[in-house]
């Protein structure tokens, strides 16, 4: 049986933490909840775990009313974004804790814990104290503890967010490995993240969440190619998709006194005015392009993010090399018009380069 939720709502204060959330999670699949900070990701995971009870709604799992099952009987595992372990126990005891709680035979505990520690690359650390480990190692211990249980539902709440860049890359690779081999046909993995790239890499079904509301559900590819609304486009791209007010006049797109050719996939647009969306990576520096003013240049990893301004519009472009710019420098850029998205004035996708439309 699937994990099915219907219209879960949770509103402890003025704001909805969950707003009519429904989903149908199938066993053997990975689900990624993508949303910004405070979008309700943790609330949703805690509701699945049973740590929170929603105000209204229903949840079923394996033919049981899941909301009536107490947390400790749900057979779930959860990894938090903070590194949560039991400080009074050593690494081995931490991982063994859930099995001991189930009164599993000592011999079996030994085997399972060893196996689990091996899968997260922590062999030889059994007798270490938690406080002696680095953040990445602590997070591996909690991952090992959640894997050892063979839980039916594995919840990962932004497990990589508090790690430094290098560790994050490394652990993300390991996650993918663990998901691809170790995952049984019998379990559901729910992974939450704020990072669209992470969502794309995990490559499961993506649920885009904002202010407690599900904005779009689909494969990572589908969300990337055809974001349903402006909000989704913003959340599912890092840096967020650039949005510009534009209008169509005689086969040209006009915005900020710039005119570009109307690409084929936009030729059927009905409205004159629309929101033009274009990814940072689809804008290039080009001497024959349009002049913008540099507001800020950030170097992140091996790329440079340029925050540019023209008139009332601000855009971000990403350049695949490290370049130095001064504030107020003038740069010329050109737009890859075949990658332009159009959203209508209500913010709903009306045309995408991949052929999607929700109007």
């Amino acid at each position: 049986m699937n994990l099915v939720a219907e219209n879960l709502s949770y509103k402890p204060d003025e704001q909805f933490h969950l707003n009519e959330v429904s989903f149908n999670f199938e066993k053997g699949n990975i689900y990624t909840i993508l949303g910004r900070t405070l979008s309700g990701k943790t609330t949703l995971l805690k509701t699945i775990a049973g740590l929170l009870t929603p105000d209204t709604g229903a949840m079923q799992f394996e033919d049981k009313d899941f909301l009536k099952v107490p947390v400790w009987e749900r057979n779930i595992a959860m990894v938090y974004q903070q590194f949560i372990n039991y400080p009074h126990l050593n690494v081995f005891e931490n991982v063994a804790f859930p099995l001991k709680q189930r009164k599993v035979d000592d011999k079996l505990i030994n085997d399972e814990v060893t196996k689990s520690l091996k899968s997260v690359g922590l062999e030889g650390y059994e007798t270490r104290k938690i406080q002696e480990l680095s953040g990445g190692q602590q997070q591996r211990v909690s991952l090992a503890r959640s894997l050892v249980k063979n839980a039916k539902i594995l919840l990962l709440d932004e497990p990589l967010v508090n790690l430094d860049y290098k560790l994050r890359e490394q652990l993300r690779e390991e996650f993918k490995n663990i998901f691809s081999q170790g995952l049984s046909e019998d379990s559901i993995v729910v992974f939450s993240t704020t990072d669209p790239r992470e969502a794309m890499e995990i490559n499961g079904e993506v649920i885009v969440l904002d202010e407690g509301k599900v904005l779009q559900v689909g494969s990572a590819k589908e969300i990337f190619e055809n974001p349903k609304t402006l909000k989704v486009a913003e959340i599912s791209n890092d840096p967020p998709m650039n949005i510009l007010k534009a209008s169509i006049e005689t086969n040209k797109i006009k915005f900020e006194e710039i005119e570009v050719e109307l690409p084929n996939h936009l030729s059927n647009l009905k409205e004159k005015n629309f929101n033009l969306g274009i990814r940072a990576s689809d804008i290039k520096l080009s001497d024959s392009g349009f002049e913008f003013e540099v507001e800020l240049a950030e170097i992140s990893g091996s790329e440079t993010l340029l925050h540019l301004k023209r008139g009332n519009s601000r855009i971000i472009i990403s350049i695949e090399e490290v370049l130095n710019f001064n504030i107020h420098d003038k740069v010329k850029i050109s737009f890859n018009i075949s990658k332009i998205y159009a959203f209508n004035e209500n913010g709903v996708l009306s045309s995408s380069p991949f052929g999607g439309s929700y109007v």
Partner: protein, 282 residues
């Protein structure tokens, strides 16, 4: 500048140390004196200044009929009352503190913080304000002048200390640890006893020490609520402080009465210096 600073620093530390230790030194030397040595003025070096005698210490274990000071019974009364009241306060206080730290209570306008304040407010009131209700209350249930009555009163006085320290301590233990324990298959009681409590031992020790100290040194309620049947040590020591009891026996009794606190102080100090208190939870 550096030298002067260092000199002043050590000068004041030494001065303060002497200031604190002097009364103890005075009591310690006096306890080994007899009539002649006491009358010989303030002398501190045994065998040089005065001839040490054990008379002061002997009277502690002598029966009153033989001229003893009779502090053995009050001593054990005090031990019993303090330990029992501290233990019950720690148990109840820890449970209440956990509840106050983790669950949300609401009864009309009364919320968690108000309940915590209610506990602490027991200590804000001057003892004299509480003494009359306590006296009437214990009188009504026939527990005046009894060990049980004193234990009840001390629980009222000590539990706020335990609650206060432990609420603060539990608030610093991440809630996610409890949640993880629940997820790992513990029911709420198991989560508390198997996970939260073992991580709170430093807090428990500090709370316990404070309870013992405040219970042990209380004179006021021990004085008001007992008459003839039961006597606690602080009351007894003060009662000894009369013209009949010689100074050497008085000094010896006083030293014996502070001995448990000195032991407690060393234990706490040891815990503090090991860093067990601050570094327990990151």
């Amino acid at each position: 500048m550096g030298k002067l600073y260092k000199f002043l620093k050590y000068f004041f530390i030494t001065f303060w140390a002497v200031f604190v230790v002097a009364p103890f030194l005075w009591a310690l030397t006096t306890s080994f004196k007899d009539f002649n040595s006491v009358n010989g003025g303030a002398t501190y070096i045994p065998w040089v200044d005065f001839e040490p005698k054990l008379e002061g210490w002997r009277v502690l274990i002598k029966s009153p009929a033989n001229g003893g000071v009779d502090i053995i019974e009050p001593y054990f009364n005090s031990l019993f009352v303090t330990c029992t009241a501290s233990l019950i306060s720690i148990v109840l206080g820890t449970l209440s503190a956990y509840a106050l730290s983790r669950f949300t209570f609401k009864a009309g306008f009364v919320k968690n913080n108000d309940i915590t304040f209610f506990f602490i407010s027991q200590r804000i009131m001057p003892p004299i304000v509480l003494s009359i209700p306590f006296f009437l209350f214990l009188g009504a249930i026939n527990l005046l002048d009894s060990l049980i009555g004193l234990i009840v009163v001390y629980i009222v006085l000590l539990m706020p200390i335990a609650v206060w320290i432990m609420v603060d301590f539990f608030n610093k233990v991440p809630r996610e640890i409890d949640e993880t324990a629940l997820i790992d298959g513990c029911n709420p009681y198991q989560a508390f006893f198997k996970v939260v409590l073992p991580n709170s031992i430093p807090g428990l020790i500090v709370a316990g020490m404070f309870c013992i100290i405040f219970g042990w040194i209380d004179f006021f309620f021990a004085f008001i609520l007992t008459f003839t049947e039961v006597q606690l040590l602080p009351v007894k020591i003060v009662a000894l402080n009369s013209s009949i009891t010689p100074w050497w026996s008085l000094s010896a009794s006083a030293l014996v009465s502070v001995a448990p606190l000195i032991i407690v102080a060393f234990i706490v100090e040891r815990y503090l210096s090991k860093g067990n208190l601050s570094g327990a939870i990151k």
